[in-house]
Amino acid sequence: MTPSDRDATGLLTRPDPFVQLITPTGERVRDDVHDPWVRDIDLDVLARLYRDMVVVRRLDTEATALQRQGELGLWPPLAGQEAAQIGSARALRGDDFVFSSYREHAVAWVRDVQPAELLSVWRGTAASGWNPYEHNMAVPQIIIGAQALHATGYAMGARWEGTDTAAIAYFGDGATSEGDVNEALVFAASFDAPVVFFCQNNQWAISEPVGLQSKQPLARRADGFGMPGIRVDGNDVLAVLAATRIALDRARRGEGPTFIEAVTYRIGPHTTADDPTRYRTEPELAEWRERDPIARVLAFLEASGVDAEGLQRDAQAEADRVAADLRAAITTLADPEPMSVFDHVYAEPNSHLDRQRDHYARYLAMFDDASHEASGSEGGAR
């Protein structure tokens, strides 16, 4: 890689070669290595992947709208990363376990998490939206990179138990700079852990371009840690599916971890609190919009003879239904009980906390319900 592959901010302008099976304009690229891994993906299945992506994009838009309307405290949009998330999540088996960051809404969707459960955390009504064991998906992680180690440990355990279950860790380009992610690569390689490191390189870590984190394509990080690295077009759902299947297959066969860099783009702000116009340009955005993950699948399906209009209409209808259900569910979500603030700190009785809980209950009991409801946050419980 020569310096001229990068623009002034260090952003990769001419990406390294990567796996791509459907081009941005919807042409199918033949690839002898990866095609066999998606032979079962016929037009029907691809149409379902398309629908997944349309739905999660709609879910994302609805969540952003809910935040703007004051129904959520914050929302980190996934727009642009639908293919990376749907493609990888659809490669998983039900018994595989997912460790995600805060942006993997589409992965949660694939894992059958209810959208309202997903949003409850961002509304601030619950510490977590679901029971990880019901979806085989951990509670999302905000501490950048920490979950990479959790996935590795989980995978070590699955292997020691003699199962062929795998774990997958989702994290961003920025996360590759944290010690935890690098240590996870060390442990995973050392113990041949059946784990897939799925890095969504969406080009930005809040305002920082990926070039600030690394001057190499991130997939190259893998080799030095003793595992294969795959660089895949993260906006190509079929290519992502193939790459993730390859990695999972390695994992199940006891060959250890794989690192996947899915090259994609965050189309929206980092979160609803962010203003991306402060750090990136309209042309850059326009360029990436042309690589839209959804449009290309529709184009390919259409070129393959599928009734694109009908598909689009159906998908949109499903998406709108999901969005409407979500809005209804989230806006009626009850606030948590005050005393639940003490629940689940410990799994076993704890003399100190039990006493503190008792004291706070006595404190609350001093106020009658009417005045209690009236107060604001600064005003307190009264």
């Binding site: 405290g73 914050l74 944290e178 010690g179 600030l212 005393m339 700190v345 004291h359 419980a381």
Partner: protein
């Protein structure tokens, strides 16, 4: 004098420090082009350049560890930790390196590193964005720990922290970033009260109320409310948490005989424990009642909709005041 928000007062203080000493460098995630997620460093990269206001890779250990190296080289790094809950990956570099290197080098290597930490809750944020980790650092020998509570102090104290040859953990009350106050941008550090000095905000005879950071405003409000009730509260803003300036607290408690300490952090091993223990040691025979701690619960920071049931507020502080005065309160009749 200018009216500035606390965030802008810090910004002005940082600008001052950058202009005064070319060895001052600012480092952090998103502090350059973006100006920080709270805009505290807004405009400084444009003004001083990318080698003075440095967007760093996403790693807190990396940030603090390279700051140590820069300090070795004679720089005075000012590191921003984006939110309180993200300081822990850098904990080892802070506790084992920043705090100890002056001692370990027998005084030959200075560590004039300032670590800025927006801290505390009350903004309805997501997990890990509302923590109060100050007690960890106050328990760490070799560090100084301060917390500002208003624009004027913020402006002076950040400059003092940067000028200090000792490492300083500088806590900023994030929910007060937008509170405005008078700031004298031309104030000289020589005339300013040292950052280690506590500040008595209201005079009172019945109860001494000690706090810091965001709760200082709440404590003032509590004092106002209590006054209407005939209770006279002396509010002290500690400003420095390590070392603590005990002189004004002692003097006050000798008069009032009653001490209430408030903070957002949990009670077990929080700053309140240290203050209660120290004041009991120093003023035992003047105390009319055991010092009372009004603190966050000993729980992980709760979801946003529950935070008002975690954070001490005006009412909980007043309940603590009632407790220390032996007036009817939430624990009346409960055996201690």
């Amino acid at each position: 004098m200018t009216q500035l928000t606390l965030a802008k007062a810090l910004n002005a203080g940082l600008r001052h420090a950058l202009a005064d000493d070319e060895k001052v460098v600012l480092m952090g995630e998103d502090i350059g082009t973006l100006g920080g997620v709270f805009r505290v460093t807004d405009g400084l990269k444009a003004e001083f350049g990318a080698h003075r206001v440095v967007d760093s890779p996403l790693s807190e250990a990396g940030l603090i560890g390279t700051a140590v190296g820069l300090a070795y080289r004679g720089f005075r790094p000012v590191v921003e930790i984006q939110f309180d809950g993200f300081i822990y990956p850098g904990f080892d570099q802070i506790v084992a390196q920043v705090a100890k290197l002056h001692y370990r080098s027998r005084g030959t290597v200075k560590m004039p590193i300032t670590i800025r930490v927006p801290f505390g809750g009350g903004i309805g944020a997501a997990e890990h964005h509302s923590e109060s980790p100050e007690a960890y650092f106050a328990h760490t020998a070799g560090l100084r720990v301060v917390a500002c509570s208003n624009p004027a102090d913020a402006h002076l104290m950040i400059r003092q922290a940067i000028a200090s040859d000792d490492p300083v953990l500088f806590f900023e009350p994030k929910r007060r970033y937008h509170v405005k106050g008078e700031v004298d941008l031309d104030a000289s550090l020589a005339d300013a009260p040292p950052m280690g000095v506590a500040s008595t905000l209201t005079r009172g005879d019945d109860v001494t109320l000690v706090t810091y950071g965001a709760l200082v405003q709440t404590a003032r409000d509590a004092a106002t409310a209590a006054a209407e009730d005939g209770v006279s509260i002396e509010v002290i803003d500690l400003r420095s948490l390590a070392p603590i300036d005990y002189a004004p607290v002692e003097a006050s408690v000798r008069r009032t005989g009653r001490l209430v300490i408030a903070h957002e952090a949990g009670q077990q091993g929080g700053m309140g424990a240290e203050i209660a223990a120290s004041i009991t040691e120093r003023c035992f025979e003047f105390l009319e009642a055991a010092p009372v701690r009004v603190t966050g619960h000993d729980i992980p920071y709760p979801p946003a909709k529950l935070e008002r049931h975690h954070l001490p507020d005006l009412d909980r502080i007043l309940d603590g005041v009632d407790r220390v005065l032996g007036r009817p309160n939430s624990l009346s009749g409960v055996e201690a």
